[in-house]
Amino acid sequence: MKQQELEKTKEYKYGFTTDIESIRAPKGLNEGVIKFISNIKKEPKWMLDWRLKAFNRLKNMKEPNWQKPKYPKINYQDLYYYSAPKSTKDKPKSLDEVDPKLLETYKKLGISLKEQEKLAGVAVDAVFDSVSVATTFKDKLTEKGIIFCPISEAIQKHPDLVKKYLGSVIPITDHYFATLNSAVFTDGSFVYVPEGIRCPMELSTYFRINASETGQFERTLIIADKGSYVSYLEGCTAPMRDENQLHAANVELVALDDAEIKYSTVQNWYPGDKNGKGGIYNFVTKRGACRGNNSKISWTQVETGSAITWKYPSCILQGDNSVGEFYSIAITNNYQKADTGTKMIHLGKNTKSKIISKGISAGNADNTYRGLVDINKKAINARNYTQCDSLLMGNKCGAHTVPYIKNKNHSSIIEHEATTSKINEDQLYYCNQRGLNQEEAIGLIVNGFCKEVLQQLPMEFAVEAQKLVGISLEGSVG
């Protein structure tokens, strides 16, 4: 490897490509491509109709432009909307049949499936480019009646559930990227936890964009039936490429009475190089509906990758006494831009929401927290607490806080706090004095700054996330 490339890999340790033959749909966005996707997935007609409805709607929609990070115009006709590793055409029945090269890829990612299976902690569904390649621990889950499978499989095997809930939280007409996803989504995970069941293990999906000039449009749907509980983890990586790649996923969560969903993300898509070339556009729509009374949805995200991140995992608190939580760490370095936050829509009585957001900005990066707390007239005794803290490193970067707060109910209480500061020199000095170098010291302090959020992550992720926090800021202090 050339010296330069070596350097590059150091910056982004997930920046490898896997040499696997893939099947692609023809370039471009048209009815033909949508039919191609639907056909290759052996979808029933209602699904194709649904996609085409979204596509027709899309023709009259415009890309939003209110978010702070601006990006060059995307030529939607110049993208591949379907790309699958060829060898999965005959899907492996067990991990042993999985293409060894793929397995190796996961090993590089640090998520060796075999190892995971042995550790018996996490059930993994890995989405490679657009296709779900392997789901582990199926038996154990099936025993409990839990469905955890690629959404393409769910469309065929559990059409009633999919029909009932798909698009019920994010309508197909919601906004440009959500509608685009509805038209062309390729795969993703589907989870259904039946009434009264506590999912015995963390469910996990790894997403990876491998092929070039490919957009990734996965779709995830999680339904927690009455009194159930599920914790879901999502990790993402992509190889280094000079061009920008689009990732426009939709994630829908539905929690019925007394159910709880915990959704954690560690997003480490390729952020582009030091000069801002390349990287993923991460335009994701994530929304959860606390549809039942006493239900709870908790989002935790660690966003360290992508050239542009633009996402607002939200909670619609419909059920009485329902609870929404959002814990976020967004780290931007070099020329990365993040515009992220949440929406908490309080509709039911005694609904509660909590928002903890930590933004860290270094280099020439721009980091925005944008959030909405909306307490409707009928949301008696609603409560919200929001805390947004930003940390700036150097004066070429930016940190912004844009909260929208609407209170239409006099019995509700909203509290919002935000601070912006730089790394405390005294703390740095203290760490240096104890023998830590500058980068170690910063890693330590930043991890401390993010602690409240890191604590929310399941163990398996917390360690990786902590490392990522350190890695993302490497070279940020001269």
Binding site: W66, K396, A399, Y404, I414, A418
Partner: protein
Amino acid sequence: MLNFEINSKEIDKIEKISREEKDFRIKNLEFFKTIGFPNKRFEDWKFSDFKNIVDNNFNELAVNKVSNDISNIDLLNDFNHNYILLVNGSLHSSNFQYEDKDKIKISSYNNNIDYKVTKNPLVCLNHALSENGYFIEIKEDYKFKKVLVIYNYFTEDIKNKILNNKNKIKLNKNSELHVIEYTVNKSKFKFINNSYEDIVLDDNSKLKNIYLQNNKSDGFFHKFLRNKLSSNSDYSNLIFSSGLKFNKLDIECDLVGEKAKCNILSGLFLNKDEHQEIKTRINHLFPNCKSFQKVKNVLSSQSKGIFQGKIYVNDIAQKTDAYQLSKALLLGDHAEFNSKPELEIYADDVKCSHGSTSGSIDENSLHYLMTRGLNKENSTRLLIKGFLNDIVEFIKSKSIKRFVERKLEEQVNGY
């Protein structure tokens, strides 16, 4: 539905203006005519749909000139003061009996050209049509001995009008001025006052402004304030404008010299369907500046309070100290508080924070007061006054403080 048309000939009626100024006015009028009154699709008007408000309250609106003749007005006798009298937005007279008159320049203000292009339709409308406001300039090193009251007087006959006026205050180096902007509205009708104020503070100068009304009225006010604060200057604006049916203050402050200070404070008690918005943008453009904002709203019945505050810190503005707090007490079942406290920061060595809370009266405090024999109504009033008190505490002069307290009390006791 209101059908509001402005004939471009209105501009021809404005006397003694240069060709250049006329072009500027026409350009602004054209802009206003293409956009009209701003609706909630404008980010800056997200929480105050002005178009809708105007449509709901006016069947007709006219921009034509009104007379500023009046025989006499009752001056305040709570404290000695100088005054400027504006009648229906036009400069009527002034009196600086307590001051050294050589140090003060006062004139009618008609300069409508040195303004940058804006996308705020109401500001454009003002640029197009405003005339005859006041311009006051304080010479170097002169400090006012007594407060200056600006009587903003509206006559009984004002009805279905939109009055546009523009004023300017310039403080030269080391000067100091305290102003009470006091609206006296005799009109029982609905009308719109759309004003623009230009405030320039030179090095080491100090301006303190208190803004309030004599009584409740059906006025719909919009005011855009543009402040330029030089090195070491000190600007404070205390807003107690509970008297209006609609009020939007849009305050933009450029801190253009080191160690400039900017304080914006507000204590409002809104009732019925009153609707008030305070929008600020503080631009920290130089190092070591300080800004402090504290906005408190008490919202009863169906009133609506809004705070949109933005702190912007430029990359060279190190050691900025910016603070912003908005608090609302919701009393009415239909009261509403919206806020958007925004930070946009590009310098790292800064202390910036904001907070926003809203909620109802604390039940435990209410209980505590009631165990001391106060009934619920009086306990609530006491808590309201307590809530607003720390804004009033910013007023140093005892007589003025008493005056403001009395005005606030009248409103709270009317609750």
